[in-house]
Symmetry: C2
Subunit: 346 residues, 2 copies
């Protein structure tokens, strides 16, 4: 029905079985459940596998067993320390299992996300990990139909699809504002992107507004500049706009450490001292935050640990499903912590 070896590897399980003088099923057992096979047979089979350089075909295995071995994981961007760390956390946690990550990135577009989900569902993932709580209706429909556990991460959606591992970006940013207020800052501003594509960024802005209002501070000093995730350059640009429009701004909260770095660097170019002329804070505690001069006040997020939690839930959910029941929806809140450094005065 098809030419042999369409980009495939040499031998099949049956050939291994033939060479070892056993049935294919025994070969399968040696690979997936070695302890039920006698030591002597196991050795024979392993030898045949070696000699033929046999590499099992997981597509066939998946079809037969109904288990793909895939975990779909969709993040906004790969080029972001935070998400990259989270992916590492997930992988690490799954490294002692036979589960494999099927990674995709959306470029912060829910429309891309929908396409990715559709594509990935064709691979029948055993769990689906999404970033954030903002999805198209069609995405939600697709996810409800498929029975795989769904985990939303990096956010705490009000109406979760199923499991959640994350933290409130709004609260975290609000905490930062409170700490700046404690330091004596009274006229804070916020710098973020122009659209609501980056929902975590939007949440941080909302958190800024809520906190400033609660503290009786001006809540309208918001510069939106650039498509999320906003760059260093856009941080620089936005800072200038901020100080032109509201010259008495004494502290600027940036949606991420990268834009905060851009803003600080712009100040240095213009000879404005940070934090004396203006304090600047970021979000995410990227490598650059601790290593810049002045070091950048920010919100530390345990990205790696977040990934580990996600991985644990994946394992639990699959274990439950193997026992015929379904893991009750989990809601895990992860650590964050305001870290004050040189870019804001205490």
């Amino acid at each position: 029905m098809k030419k042999k070896n369409d980009g495939a590897i040499g031998s099949t399980m049956l050939e291994v079985a033939g060479r070892a003088g056993v049935s294919a099923m025994t070969v399968s057992r040696v690979l997936r459940n070695p302890q039920v096979v006698s030591a002597a047979t196991r050795i024979k089979v392993r030898k045949a596998i070696e000699e033929l350089d046999y590499v099992p075909d997981q597509a066939a295995g998946a079809l037969s067993s109904g288990r793909s071995g895939f975990i779909a994981c969709i993040v906004p961007s790969l080029d972001n320390s935070n998400f990259a760390e989270t992916v590492r956390g997930i992988s690490e946690e799954l490294s002692n299992t036979a589960l494999q990550l099927l990674l995709g990135y959306t470029n912060y577009s829910v429309h891309s996300e929908e396409n990715l989900v559709r594509t990935m569902l064709q691979r029948r993932p055993e769990a689906i990990i999404l970033t954030g709580g903002d999805h198209t209706d069609r995405t939600r429909r697709l996810l409800e139909l498929c029975e795989a556990p769904v985990i939303q991460m990096w956010d705490t959606p009000a109406k979760p699809l199923e499991h959640v591992v994350g933290f409130s970006n709004a609260d975290a940013c609000g905490d930062l504002v409170v700490r700046l207020h404690e330091c004596g800052y009274r006229n804070p501003g916020f710098i973020g992107g122009t659209t609501n594509r980056d929902t975590r960024g939007t949440d941080r802005r909302e958190g800024f507004i809520t906190a400033t209002k609660a503290l009786g501070l001006p809540a309208d000093r918001i510069i939106s500049s650039g498509i999320p995730p906003i760059s260093m350059q856009e941080g620089a640009h936005a800072l200038v706009q901020m100080l032109e429009r509201w010259p008495d701004t004494d502290a600027v909260v940036c949606v991420s450490d990268l834009s905060a770095f851009g803003a600080i660097t712009e100040c240095r170019r213009r000879g404005w001292s940070v934090p004396e002329r203006v304090a600047i804070a970021g979000f995410g505690d990227f490598e650059i935050a601790a290593n810049n001069k002045p070091s950048i006040s920010t919100v530390y997020v345990n990205s790696f640990g977040l990934g580990e939690s996600v991985g644990r839930i994946v394992k639990q959910a699959i274990a439950s499903s193997n026992q015929g029941n379904k893991l009750a929806p989990q809601f895990v809140t992860t650590e964050y912590r305001v870290v004050l450094r040189e870019s804001t005065a205490s």
Copy 2:
């Protein structure tokens, strides 16, 4: 033979066919080759697909057709602008095909790479993309056995496995040294990691040595510090060591922009002006290079374009193989360019 719906989606192609009043084969044709089906039937089938929320099972399709639709892509790290951009370039180039990236990262370990390759081969990828030219013997054996085209990128290995898309990291770093020499620097040093795990880093160091020797400059000012990829902090640390050991060093080439940034920041902390006290250059032209003050001299690499080239070769190789022949090994050299900025004086 197995419980229905093990995490799977509702309906099968046969059910769609039943509802549309056609055979399963016709449904398959509507999905993969719609133009051979009459308009009327096509509409009926599409309607049935919609109504049942049918999502094809690609594992079954792959098994039957011998085409997995996967492209394996292995990079050292996801958290690196350069590689992330390259992955974006590949994805973009493959976005108008039915091919899907199966991503993996090695953490700069050839041993991890071997495991990843083995795992990925079980999915029968139609092409395999690796970073660099350094692989274990077993990896090379596995890749030779499988008939899928192999592409090595980000390097120009002397003995390529098959296709290559990259540039000589040694030459690029050498060019940088030459340009620094033209600027009047006579005592350059190099900062990199302690091991040879990061072969691109090692090549850059070799390029530094070759170029300095050729120019009659000291070639032994090399500080190795930290496990690659070395951090900002290690860059800072290494710079201090460099100037303690060879105080008259007038220019330092760092293995990447991140370590260069760390080095520059350390200078600023210590009140050493850059480039007056010492010039510093990086590699990669990360966002930070243009946005720092002083902006960082570096080697620009077209990471995204490199990925696009890789994607094009993947498509060509698969097209050739569909026509029954094999694409002759390609060797594509990609663009790089020394960019001198404020961190070195002209």
